[in-house]
Assembly symmetry: C2
């Protein structure tokens, strides 16, 4: 393409090093930031125009935050990075020998992006462990689209319960199943509990929203396993205290239109739950497989790419994989790992350009801890040897998120939103749209496929 | 359905009068509010769970306001109206003789809603004057889904321009066509102008966003016809001063994938514009036709129902049509008309219950004026004989909207959002999602249908 290259101040005879970053999440963004003052020409490619603050995605799903509060346009965030150009396109493949990335624009056009250094930061997508058919029934929580779909399902479930004649179906609509006991599953469970008991209090005439059941299914021995056994136990106690039904060592074997089937302690049980949300696994996206094929790189069981200690692919020192897609020493797919690995990649590239290309130190992750919000006044925070939970944990959680949210305005706005929810339970971002419907009356997907359902046709209340 | 009836305090032998209100827009909401203390059992049915503040829909589309700021859940707004129950369902038809409304829930279940009084407040939908095929190419601006689609198209157009190799296609992506010169079209034109010149300033490396062309096509003799000739002329001057290309007495004859064709002064011209937005006409939704068939009511050219002076349908004194769908004395489809007609219907029903059922006074609309926002510091406001424009108009416009927005919190939030935009041009709600895509990688609709487009395959910048 004849697109203008980013502006870089160099003597005319020097050609700036081209860095292509695929992915504008934490890893890609921090790589770009670290290269800010380097004499390199950076191209950041993402199939979405925004940077997503994933740690708070569950709050967009639960109606506390709007999309704009957790997703900022990449080109706005990088506006003053004059050596970065942002392109809306999806990376399709890599010609690793000729050092070219092939990308596709939303309307099907193709772009060729040559590089001297490539930073692969595409992240991972929700995994259904081979059961792709579950995806339509049980939305994940990795993207903005996911969050809006989850929001729609949560609030719509209460609406559906309100119009139900059959008590059993009504209860099924008031039953929410979360698959996966990591931070996202735990946070969502807490949110649905608060929505049912506080936000929707006294809004319904037929149902009692507080009768909602929240089921949390986890295949391992504990929730929040990554937080260590002490916090995991406290979190489980908190959840059970809220009334969340926690099922550990439980595998989900099927998800259908009306509920899900699980295997727990060798026994198979079916639960009727019209809303099933899936946060149980992640896997590499198609681009990762294309990259592995092009470079011969090895992948782990989830498709993540195994990298050298300096985050490069074996045999391809110009290609680094960072963030969630990177498989190194069992590092978890967390925001903090993504930030640090992305910044590391940027630093190494910068040193290379500055002539400090001595053998790069290996990447070393500094674990500053993790935080998960369970419920109002209760969170779990782990920082080094420090473990805090309860109200203290909640305050620390608040502080951490305020600091890390991008932009002062976002922080102020999010703080205001949180305060409102804490004080009143009101969630301001509850509006949900019809599935894919526009104002001209195209029927929503799914309407009519339950026609003739068992409903009395006359209201005989009088 | 055996759903519990709303709670009404009456002696046991008295059965509360059942009022069914179809539609939770301004008309339906004001009808419900007016019935607050009446001994009636109100059922409010809407196919969406939210009340939409349509006058500010264009600000959601332009990325200033989030969905939650202009759409509040109906059952939250009516939480303290203990005689109202809200049901998420779409009215499909009416058995006018047996006085029953038939409605369909989102999953295809059916509801029968008997009534003693029926208030039809379903509104209208965007009309393409018989050219339904334009709808997919040119989104309207009547619903929340529309606004999000418009937002997606506006911001994505600039992204597409940035990756274009062909200068002509690039310019086509930077060309925005608005069909319809009423308040919504004018407001959107002004918003796109501001986005191009202020919001996106310096965010792009290839394109200059301020080179965007905004075309406004109007079939009549002036924009903002309903505001009278003085304000219409001023608004036109303002628009042209901003660089908006205003085409009056122009009819759009075709909309295709790459642009639109118009007939102006007997001459046919084609404009290449990848973003076409349609606000040119409205028409009755299918339910209106079903109602007309059931009652023999007459409809105007747009399908609106002709009502008696007391807003009832001839021969059916229990059925009132209010708001945009009502055809009476040429009253326009505006928020103020909807509010007043809805309140009138509620009042008449209340008087009937209170035994004051003497011949109802006819509905008389009190025209307090209209306001339209054109651009930063410029709006047009008409109130009785008063005509204000420019900065004064803008301040009055601001005041009116603050007063009418539902809820103090909304006003404060919207005020903060507007102040931010006014001061900095920053629009906080720019995040747009892929069309119907979720995080598991289902391809967005439309990808690939332009594969093999004329793009150089090698970046030869060096």
């Amino acid at each position: 393409m004849h697109a203008k290259e980013p502006q870089v101040q160099l003597p005319d005879h020097i050609v700036p090093r081209r860095v292509v970053i695929i992915g504008g999440g934490f890893a890609g963004l921090f790589a770009a930031r670290t290269l800010r003052r380097s004499p390199v020409a950076v191209t950041l490619v993402d199939r979405r125009a925004h940077h997503l603050f994933q740690p708070l995605l569950y709050q967009c799903a639960s109606g506390i935050l709007s999309e704009g509060q957790i997703a900022q346009p990449l080109r706005a965030v990088l506006r003053r990075h004059h050596n970065v150009r942002c392109l809306l396109a999806e990376a399709a493949g890599v010609d690793a020998d000729n050092r070219v990335v092939l990308a596709v624009t939303p309307d099907g056009g193709t772009l060729s992006l040559p590089y001297d250094d490539l930073v692969v930061a595409v992240g991972v997508r929700q995994s259904y462990f081979g059961h792709q058919e579950f995806a339509a029934r049980a939305p994940g929580m990795k993207t903005l689209e996911d969050a809006l779909e989850v929001r729609r399902r949560i609030y719509r479930a209460f609406e559906m319960a309100e119009t139900c004649a059959d008590p059993r179906e009504q209860q099924a609509w008031l039953t929410f199943a979360l698959v996966g006991g990591g931070p996202t599953g735990v946070e969502l469970a807490g949110q649905i509990h608060e929505i049912a008991r506080r936000t929707l209090d006294r809004e319904f005439r037929t149902i009692d929203s507080s009768q909602a059941r929240v089921l949390l299914f986890e295949g391992g021995d504990s929730v929040l396993t990554a937080f260590g056994p002490t916090l995991a136990r406290r979190a489980e106690r908190t959840l059970r205290g809220l009334g969340v039904e926690v099922h550990l060592r439980t595998l989900v074997t099927d998800v259908d239109d009306e509920g899900l089937t699980v295997r727990e302690q060798g026994r198979t049980t079916r639960f009727e739950a019209r809303t099933v949300l899936w946060t149980a696994g992640v896997e590499a996206p198609p681009f990762a497989h294309a990259l592995a094929r092009a470079t011969g790189a090895a992948q782990d069981h989830a498709g993540r790419l195994l990298v050298q200690p300096d985050l490069t692919l074996p045999g391809y020192p110009q290609i680094r994989v960072v963030g969630d897609l990177m498989a190194l020493d069992g590092l978890p797919g967390m925001a903090e790992v993504a930030m640090q690995s992305g910044a590391y990649a940027g630093r190494v590239i910068r040193h290379g350009v500055e002539g400090r290309a001595e053998r790069a130190r290996p990447f070393r992750y500094r674990d500053f801890g993790s935080a998960a919000y369970i419920s109002r006044g209760r969170a779990a925070v782990r920082a080094g040897p420090v473990r805090v939970s309860g109200v203290t944990g909640w305050l620390v959680w608040l502080l951490i998120h305020i600091v890390f949210l991008t932009g002062f305005r976002s922080r102020l706005g999010a703080l205001a939103s949180w305060f409102l929810v804490f004080a009143t339970g009101a969630r301001r971002e509850r509006a949900f749209t019809g599935e894919g419907e526009r104002g001209h009356g195209a029927p929503p997907a799914g309407a009519g496929d339950r026609a003739g359902r068992d409903q009395p046709t006359a209201d005989r209340a009088h």
